[in-house]
Symmetry: C2
Subunit: 203 residues, 2 copies
DNA sequence: GCCACATGCAAGTACCCGCTTGCAGAGGTT
DNA sequence: AACCTCTGCAAGCGGGTACTTGCATGTGGC
C-alpha cells in the first residue's frame, strides 16, 4: 500500500464520495424531480457536506447531467443481445428480450419519468437518458430485418421493432395506473410476445 | 343587456380570466413542470396580475388541480365509443378507436408527461389526469370481452385492452424519441391494428 | 516534519418564490 | 349617487435556495 498507483487510495475515497452523491441525487430527483429537490437534501442523503457536492459537480445542472450519464447503462444492451442470440427459436428469443426489457425499464423507470418531464427545460439530460433505448431499438430493428428476410415475420422491420418495444415500454410505464392485479412477469411476457407474434385472432 | 341574467356579463369576464390563467398554466407547466414554473410567470403569460391569480385559485397547488380537472376531457370517451359502435366490422372499429386514441393522447401529451413526473410528489393530480384513460380502458375491456365471446378474438379481455391501448400510448409518448420519419397517421393505425389482430407472423 | 488534498463546518450573499395586503380605478346594478 | 365586484399595481413578508468562502481537520505520500 505504499507506492503502487500513487493517488489510487485517495482517489478511491473521492470516487466513493462521488458515487454516494450521484446515488442520492437519483433517489431524490426520481421522487420529486430535480426542481423539487434541493442540493442540501442531496448532500444530506449522501452523508456529505453541501460544499463538497458543489466542489465535485460545480452546479446543480452539472450534477443532473452527471447522474443521467452515470446511470444510463447504454452498454448493457449489447450483452443482452448477445445472450439472446444464444437461445434457439425466435419466440424464445423474443421472450428473453421482453423479460430483459421489463427489468431494464423498471430499473430506470424513475429516470425516464424525470427526463420526460424535464426534456424541454434541459434537453441534454433527456437525450442522455434516452440513449440506451434508442440504441436498443436500432439493434432490434436489425434483428427484425433478419427475421423478416428469413420469412419468420412480415412487415417493416423498424415498425416491428417499435411495436415490440412499445408493448413493454407501456407495460412498465403505465403499470401503476392501469394495473388491476400484478401478474407474474413471465406470464406477462408470454402473453405479450404471443400476441405480438400471432395476434389476437383465435387460431 | 339590461336585466337578463343579473351577473352573467360580469361572470363572463371572470370566466374568461379563469380560462386564460388555466391555459397559461398548462402551457408553462407542460414546458417546465409545475415546480419549474412560477406563479408570476403564469400570471404574466395570462396577461393578468399575480394577485388576480391567487384571488381565483388560492394556491399554486389548487391551480394545478383545477388545470388537470379542466383539461381532462373525461366525458369525451363515451362519445368516441358510441361513434365506434356505429361502424361495422371489428377491424374498422379498432382502426377508428386507434385513430381517436392517437388524437386524444397527442392533445394531452404534455399533461400526461407532467402528471407522470409529479405523480409521486402530488398523487391527487396524477389520479385526476389519468381518470380519462382509466375510464377508457374499462370500456375497452368490456368491448374486448364481447369480441372474445363472439369468437372474434382470443385471450383475456383486460389484457387485450391493455395491450391495445399500450400500443397507441407508447406510439405517442415515445414518438419524439424514436421517430425516424413521421409516417401518416392512418398508415400507422393500419399497421398497429393489423399487427394486434393478426400478429407479425407471415400469412 | 511537511505538503497536497479532500472534506466538514458555519456563516453569508444575493436572489427568488409563494402569497398577502392596501389602495385605487373601472364597470355595471340598483 | 351609492354600491358591489373584478382587477391592476406596488410593496413587502417570511422563508427558501443555489452557490461561495474562509478556516480547521484529518489522511496519506515524500
Amino acid at each position: 500500500m505504499t507506492l503502487k498507483e500513487p493517488e489510487a487510495i485517495a482517489k478511491s475515497g473521492v470516487e466513493e464520495t462521488r458515487l454516494r452523491i450521484l446515488a442520492a441525487a437519483r433517489k431524490l430527483y426520481a421522487e420529486r424531480g430535480s426542481r423539487g429537490t434541493t442540493t442540501r437534501e442531496v448532500a444530506d442523503l449522501a452523508g456529505v457536506n453541501e460544499a463538497t457536492l458543489f466542489r465535485h459537480f460545480g452546479t446543480k445542472q452539472q450534477l443532473l447531467a452527471a447522474m443521467y450519464d452515470h446511470f444510463s447503462e447504454a452498454s448493457a444492451y449489447v450483452s443482452i443481445l448477445e445472450r439472446m442470440l444464444e437461445i434457439s427459436g425466435m419466440e424464445a428469443q423474443l421472450r428473453f428480450l421482453g423479460a430483459e426489457a421489463i427489468e431494464s425499464l423498471r430499473r430506470k423507470e424513475d429516470l425516464i419519468k424525470v427526463s420526460m418531464a424535464e426534456e424541454i427545460a434541459f434537453p441534454e439530460a433527456g437525450t442522455c437518458a434516452w440513449r440506451a433505448p434508442v440504441a436498443g431499438k436500432l439493434m432490434l430493428t436489425e434483428y427484425m430485418r433478419e427475421r423478416v428476410e428469413a420469412g419468420e415475420l412480415q412487415g417493416d422491420p423498424e415498425t416491428l421493432a417499435r411495436i415490440f418495444m412499445s408493448l413493454f415500454f407501456a407495460y412498465v410505464m403505465a403499470n401503476r395506473i392501469w394495473s388491476g392485479e400484478e401478474r407474474p412477469r413471465d406470464s406477462v411476457v408470454q402473453t405479450i410476445v404471443d400476441t405480438f407474434v400471432n395476434g389476437a385472432r383465435p387460431r
